[in-house]
Symmetry: C2
Subunit: 247 residues, 2 copies
């Protein structure tokens, strides 16, 4: 997982556990795929496999939403798509601003996954005057000076920060002051925000570092266990029959 919530004591929102909320989008994606293939119903076992989770966990997750399944049959795909969408608030359109149109910001602006799921990029904002008016993803970049006006005019409550680390906190404060209450932060900094504002962060470098840790551990155990293992031997280990590594 590349991101995580930022402090706040895991407020169980309306009885739905945070861990469940984090999995709902996963289920929704699998269900959407089934829907496009006109599959009418799906069992918890099948859907769990498609989403890469345990079936008992999936059933428990759905139980927080209500009793939407039929015993002996499974879940109605279309109905469940609607219920989860509604639960996640995706039946309405969320205008989003992206601040910081560098490589990453531009990539985000071009990312198709937003529009398809209830999000609409309302504006692209950058501090560089040279960027102003330049079209990115078919949309002119606007200058930071207009940030407050843009937020207000479009009723934006979700902001994406893709600026350099040094600018992030200041941008964050301006967004919050202008009325934004949810922030997705790509800048490698800890943002401090007032209560009531949600921050989620995505940090590419941190994800790689976590992988490196496990990679190092694997290399160490391998060397310790059976001396030097040629790289060719590793590729044959598809689907290892034995379970986990011994302690």
């Amino acid at each position: 997982m590349a991101t995580g919530r930022t402090h706040r004591p895991a407020t169980r929102s309306r009885g739905i556990p945070e861990a469940t909320v984090a999995r709902l989008p996963l289920y929704l994606r699998a269900l959407t795929a089934l829907s496009e293939r006109s599959v009418p119903t799906v069992s918890s076992e099948e859907l769990a496999a498609a989403a890469g989770v345990n079936s008992a966990k999936l059933r428990k997750d759905f139980s927080y939403l209500g009793s939407y399944g039929t015993r002996g049959v499974g879940y109605d795909v279309e109905y469940l798509v609607y219920q989860i969408s509604r639960e996640l608030g995706l039946t309405q359109d969320w205008p989003v601003v992206i601040v910081g149109i560098g490589n990453l910001g531009a990539a985000l602006a071009n990312y198709g996954g937003f529009a398809s799921r209830g999000f609409r990029v309302a504006a692209l904002i950058d501090a560089d005057p040279a960027m102003a008016g330049k079209p990115v993803a078919g949309m002119p970049v606007q200058h930071t000076d207009d940030l407050e006006r843009i937020i207000e005019d479009n009723g934006v409550s979700i902001g994406v920060i893709a600026t350099p680390a040094g600018a992030a906190q200041q941008v964050c404060e301006r967004l919050v002051a202008a009325g934004v209450t949810s922030i997705l932060n790509f800048a490698p900094t800890v943002l401090s925000v007032p209560d009531g504002v949600d921050v989620r962060k995505v940090d590419l470098s941190i994800e790689l570092q976590i992988l490196a840790f496990h990679e190092q551990r694997k290399a160490g155990e391998e060397a310790a266990a059976d001396g030097v293992v040629p790289p060719v031997a590793a590729k044959q280990q598809r689907k290892g029959p034995d379970g986990d590594v011994p302690p």
Copy 2:
């Protein structure tokens, strides 16, 4: 958080809890900043504030690494930077390949946070023949046909997938077959991999959906507080909540 581990029963690697490993990069970043300002020592309270976590949690995290602090004084910044770097495996250089050089792949290639922390982009790979040879981030894009050779020649064990969803699983399988054992996945798909391969995923769309959920909840509570909807009656009833629609 934008990412999450993919199944696997939370193997506690060498006694260091997974949750702690995920925070080490955070501490490292804060410590590096202190180091650049030539701060000699730091207390758990100060460092915790800089990293945005609870100080007790930070001390417990460090206790898994060893007793590196001095009571009454705090932690030696330089020493701790070294210890955490070593623990994360960042004292060695990790060659990384990026597969899928679209907007996102290019952004990742240009991202400075990699090189600065022990990672080196060894190659950029794309399936489009028109991209081959084209320079991105000062490095020529190579064709997918050479994937296996590139992995082997450079001893790559970490791969980044930034392809469209449809291509991700196939690319993943080729990477794994060629010897890659850690994958950072940006494609919106569940990857299935053999045991022993680590996958972390970063999903921009999922992060936004989680924010939308909280945003909706906040809006709902606000309305309820204003007397529009009784807070409890709103949605708690199972078996057919108010706003549902028959299939």
